[in-house]
Amino acid sequence: MTQMTMIQAITDAMRTELRRDDNVLVFGEDVAKNGGVFRATEGLYDEFGEDRVFDTPLAESGIAGLALGLALQQYRPIMEIQFFGFVFEAMDGIASQLARLRYRSGGHYHAPVTIRSPFGGGVKTPELHADNLEGLFAQCPGLKVVIPSNPYDAKGLLIAAIRDNDPVLFLEHMKLYRSFREEVPEEAYTIELGKAKIVREGSGLTLITYGAMVRTALKAAEQLQKEGIDCEIIDLRTISPLDTETIVKSIQKTNRAVVVQEAQKQAGIAAQVIAEINDCALLHLEAPVGRVSAPDSVFPFASAEDVWLPNEKDIIEQAKATVNF
């Protein structure tokens, strides 16, 4: 075991898979000699060379097309979108091309492509860098969307994503990259995609969230505990497909739920979670499911992030409202 930050765990996952399978390739803008703008690919170019870890020309759509072509030559590409705000340039490549390859070929071809990208607010990037666009991609059939909340999960989920024979969008919250360390095994391990994790057990209320909001929810839960509200917290880890089973089981126990997302409210992941709860656990509820999200504006300029992003206080308020309904 070693202490690792989430970004170190991510690098470690790629290194592990590059060593294990010659077909794994890492490419994107500035990922080779420079090791990526966040240093997520630090050291990989030196260890594996230009043939395995290489820079691309600066064009996101080109990167996605390149990944599909390389997948058709039996490679297992890990492509990086430098900031998730740039992903619209590759929307066709991801949603129409990679995610549809299996169906369009009647199962003859598949795209074992991992799309890595830093996302999420709170680190004061310039505009159009940080957006929480995960909901758009959760709507794409044929694509899995994974969002880790900690170093241990990041390594296991990323290895699982790389080994998966379908395209996986792996979103790395920028605020989590270096915010804390934890024990991460040196050997390879996988965490099954599509499985949520109960990160805190409780009996009075279920908080369902993912990404950076998991830490925020944990802090809120500590405060709520002092006020007599015992929270269970589910870290979704994969937002598409959703682990409805884990959510429903928890609600059968707690009878109350609040869904927390960093993204804007409109048509987000929380809406889908709430709809699943309505379908599968409505009669177990003692209160309407609460929702905490950012407002439905565009993602703000850096200086407004602090007032825009959902925080601990928002979660506490909503949790109390749901419990006292």
Binding site: S61, G65, L66, Q73, G93, R102, R104, S105, G106, P241
Partner: protein
């Protein structure tokens, strides 16, 4: 630094149209005539005639509702088939939706082409030995994928090439440039074949770009570019042959612009070409017909006869009928098929929906 200027100062003057046969099938550029055996000449003619007959038949079948989505190809046979003639069995093909003939001659069974036209997934279930991607709908998306396939071929050390086909309208897309540029930067073995048939649905090429030729767009990517008479099978063949040699020698990609024309509508889904082009223009292009000029050329060489023509046409008609019957035998698609192709293993939501739909579909049977 010396800029690439010539006397006129116009970049298009670096891209003269390569033409070897005139409209009467006379060799007008002996120097450029490619090495090609008599058997190959004959086979190329056979493929063009066969494809013309099948295309005519497909239009009728579409009108009868027996085929679905179909983009006519008549007029573009030389552009399509004389270029694809250079493909090795292991070369990769990235076609657009009009480039079904190249797919079929590269190994797609005709009945699968018909299934694709009908919108059936079995039309995309390619035989293992067929190295090709399904026809691309998103204009120019195949260009970036071609760069990826070509880079993969290079990494694998294969002496193979990616053949990427698209139209004049595609050159306005970012992906066209990105694909050429990526392939150029990696010196990847790709050939980008732009079939300039003058109209992207209705918009004339003059309104797509201020560039006087599309071939010259290669300059921006730093790769080779050549413009050829796309109605001249020998010119298309010669340019493609050279491009392939460069590609496998590690000299990187080439952009080939073929000047061609589609006689028919954009697709059979209601396009009316009289709204945007004149019969006179179509008539002019028909005089340059690739089959006519190649027939003249081959007849003079004693390689083609009326009998060859009739036999080929008959073969095409028989094959189309046979393929149609085979396509008719394929079972209908249902929702469970569709759900089953979403992932290698069904996810939680997909499995639930599979169960629900298989129960429902079971009831219907």
């Amino acid at each position: 630094m010396d800029l690439p200027v010539n006397d006129s100062g116009r970049i298009e003057d670096f891209f003269p149209t390569l033409r070897i046969l005139d409209t009467q099938g006379h060799v007008i550029n002996e120097q450029a005539r490619p090495e090609i055996s008599n058997d190959e000449l004959k086979e190329l003619m056979r493929r063009m005639v066969y494809t013309r007959v099948w295309d005519q038949r497909a239009l009728k079948l579409n009108r009868q509702g027996r085929l679905g989505f179909y983009a006519p190809v008549a007029g573009q046979e030389a552009s399509m088939l004389a270029s694809a003639f250079l493909m090795d069995q292991e070369d990769w093909l990235l076609p657009s939706y009009r480039d079904i003939p190249q797919l079929v001659w590269h190994g797609l069974p005709l009945y699968k082409a018909f299934l694709y036209s009908r919108g059936h997934f079995e039309g995309g279930q390619y035989p293992e030995e067929l190295k090709a991607v399904m026809p691309q709908i998103i204009i120019a998306a195949q260009c970036t994928q071609a760069a990826g396939i070509a880079l993969g071929l290079k990494k694998r050390g294969k002496k193979q090439v990616a053949f990427c086909y698209f139209g004049d309208g595609a050159t306005s897309q970012g992906d066209f440039y990105e694909g050429m540029n990526f392939a150029g930067a990696y010196r990847a073995p790709a050939i980008f074949i732009c079939q300039n048939n003058r109209f992207a649905i209705s918009v004339p090429v003059e309104k797509q770009t201020a560039a006087a030729s599309l071939a010259q767009k290669a300059v921006a990517a730093g790769i080779r570019g050549i413009q050829v008479d796309g109605m001249d099978p020998l010119a298309v063949y010669a340019a493609t042959k050279k491009a392939r040699e460069h590609a496998i020698a590690g000299d990187g990609p080439t952009l080939i612009e073929t000047l061609t024309y589609r006689y028919g509508p954009h697709t059979m889904a209601g396009d009316d070409p009289t709204r945007y082009r004149t019969d006179e223009l179509t008539g002019e292009w028909e005089k340059r017909d690739p089959l006519i000029r190649f027939r003249f050329y081959l007849e003079r060489l004693g390689l083609w006869s009326q009998e060859d023509e009739e036999q080929t046409a008959e073969q095409a008609r028989t094959d189309v009928d046979k393929a149609l019957k085979q396509a008719d035998r394929v079972s209908k698609q249902n929702v469970t098929d569709l759900l089953g192709f979403m992932f290698e293993k069904p996810t939680q939501n997909i499995q639930e929906q599979l169960d629900a739909y298989s129960a429902r579909e079971g009831d219907q049977r």
